[in-house]
Assembly symmetry: C2
DNA sequence: TTGTACGCGTTATCAA
DNA sequence: TTGATAACGCGTACAA
């Protein structure tokens, strides 16, 4: 078995009776070093199983070739897609990905950021947790010269880099799909009212209805706290309305899953008595016997890819990069 | 806006007209430093927004407080559960997690290992890809003093640390469940024959049948390459048998999803004409209208947790830790 | 109680 | 073409 202390430049130099700097240059193919010397050095390096100590190099060049990715939870297929795209880009650029799941907990989020900062990541990609209100960390990171690019769940501020999906286009297509199929009573099961993404959904829901000459009735907008119980309760609220909706847009696919299950329990036939469209485009709808009518794709991989590209653009550019805002259009995908 | 060059110990020392070593000690609450000095130093550190440069510390102590996790794909809920458990343990110990997805590609796997080695991770947790045959990297890592703990998909070697799930117990329970419900013709849709995990399944399938006094007929064992088409083809093979099986154990939940869909297309009613059990315990079965009879839980989080604990035990112990082998029992979970 | 000196592995600068 | 030296930021043995 080999020794566990990896060889260093110094050792090579000693064995060859030349100076460490010569060795360093030879290994880096510096033009000033003679061919013979270079060969000898490389041969010896090979023999001694030399491997550059990256921690020393990182330290010296003040760069770790590491980016941190912070997201709510990998259990959501949306985020596992996103991080896969990010990892692919990072690998191309010879960067490594540090992982942090916030689990929608602002404290955890803060901790992860602190850890990443300690580890001197070169940059951060982040999708905010649902409960994050304090965004002061952005400035802290900025003052440490660690760029952040947000994706999917992004802050309102215009002075940050962000990549996200415009919900309005998908919502509009959803409403249109429902209307063209003759639905009169269209409801929205929305997330907690405290969420920006929820208020956006309500706004675009209302707008889409009006645009198509429909009335907006706020009785048809209910809210869930996104727990199973909350999802069922929201559905219950809609079911007891005098004119029960026949078409429902819901906050996301997870809500729809719960709601469909609830509906089944009530004897409501999905795809016949009641139709669903939700956000996210959960990959397994195709296996369901009675899937929703459609899902609104938000392109996690495109978002991750673009966010990563922006981050690397920032890292590779010497000048300050102006805050970028990239907006993808969400899109209705029929099932 | 603050400067982007974080303050160093030297600067604090200069401002306070004391030596850097005193500052260092004060910041680390070294007992020999006077209370007043300590206070002054800390105050100045605060003012200058001092943050220890971890890359320097990592470099010096030859330790990065980083572990690498290599797994096939986060899109499998099994692995996203596992990595979440790992991340939780790592966070406790103040370690950070570097992510690498192999996508079942041996070349990618090798690349990731090389990258992790360059980054001088303190240890590695790994679940092998389906196509990995060359395990020589284990010795290479060992010679670099980077411990590896395998989980779930582990090598056969007895000289490595590994945590995995014994498939036989779950298989036995599955067969028993089928038999007790009166099934005579029980089939197995297995993965590629080249996979160790597939041969294991066949062996335990056979064993369980014999144990219950049933004959083993290899016509009832078919193989799929795990693509959608392969899954359908395997099912087709079973359907054309003279005595069509009424109960099927399949390689994993993804295979079952495809197969159930196929069965539906053929007018076969799942849970009536045909019953399924598969490995993995995919979390969304509960939303399915006609779910499989049961799923065999393989405890990704327990596996991840245990593997991480072993790794930290190795990292924290000064002596060599003997190769550990932890085997969880898989367990049938009725749906 | 505090300061001096050194080293971790590498590379850039300057000198030879 | 090569070598000596310094520096990155920190911690610590040794000296005072």
């Amino acid at each position: 078995m080999k020794s566990n202390k990896p060889a260093t430049i110094k050792e090579i130099a000693r064995k060859l009776k030349i100076s460490p700097s010569t060795v360093s240059r030879a290994l880096n193919d510096h033009p000033s070093i003679g061919l013979v010397t270079t060969m000898r050095v490389k041969k010896m390096a090979e023999e001694l199983n030399y491997e550059p100590n990256q921690t020393a190099i990182f330290f010296k060049q003040r760069k770790t070739f590491t980016i941190g990715v912070i997201l709510p939870a990998l259990s959501e297929p949306f985020f596992s897609s996103a991080i896969s795209a990010i990892e692919a880009i990072a690998e191309d650029r010879k960067y490594t990905v540090l992982l942090g799941q916030s689990l929608d907990d602002a404290d955890r989020e803060a901790k992860i950021i602190a850890t990443f900062k300690k580890h001197r990541v070169d940059g951060i990609l982040m999708s905010l947790g649902k409960n994050t209100t304090d965004l002061s960390f952005v400035e802290v990171l900025e003052s440490s010269d660690i760029p952040v690019v947000f994706f999917d769940c992004v802050p309102e501020s215009t002075s940050v880099h962000k990549v996200y999906c415009d919900l309005a286009t998908g919502m509009d297509e959803a409403i249109e799909a429902f209307i063209s199929r003759g639905h009169k009573n269209i409801a929205l099961i929305n997330g907690p009212e405290t969420l920006l993404s929820a208020t956006e959904r309500t706004a675009s829901f209302q707008e889409a209805l009006l645009k198509h000459g429909y009335e907006f009735n706020d009785k048809y907008v209910v809210h869930t706290d996104l727990t199973e119980h909350g999802n069922h309760a929201a559905m219950e609220q809609l079911c007891v309305l005098p004119e029960r909706p026949s078409a429902i847009v819901s906050f996301n696919d997870f809500v729809t899953l719960d709601v469909i299950k609830y509906a089944r329990g009530k004897g409501i036939i999905v795809g016949q008595d009641m139709h669903f469209i939700s956000f996210a485009n959960y990959p397994l709808w195709k296996y369901m016997e009675n899937p929703p009518l459609a899902s609104i794709e938000q392109y996690p991989d495109e978002q991750g890819k673009k966010a990563a590209e922006i981050l690397f653009e920032i890292l590779e550019s010497k000048e300050k990069v102006e805050p970028q805002e990239i907006i993808f259009s969400s899109k209705l995908v029929l099932k």
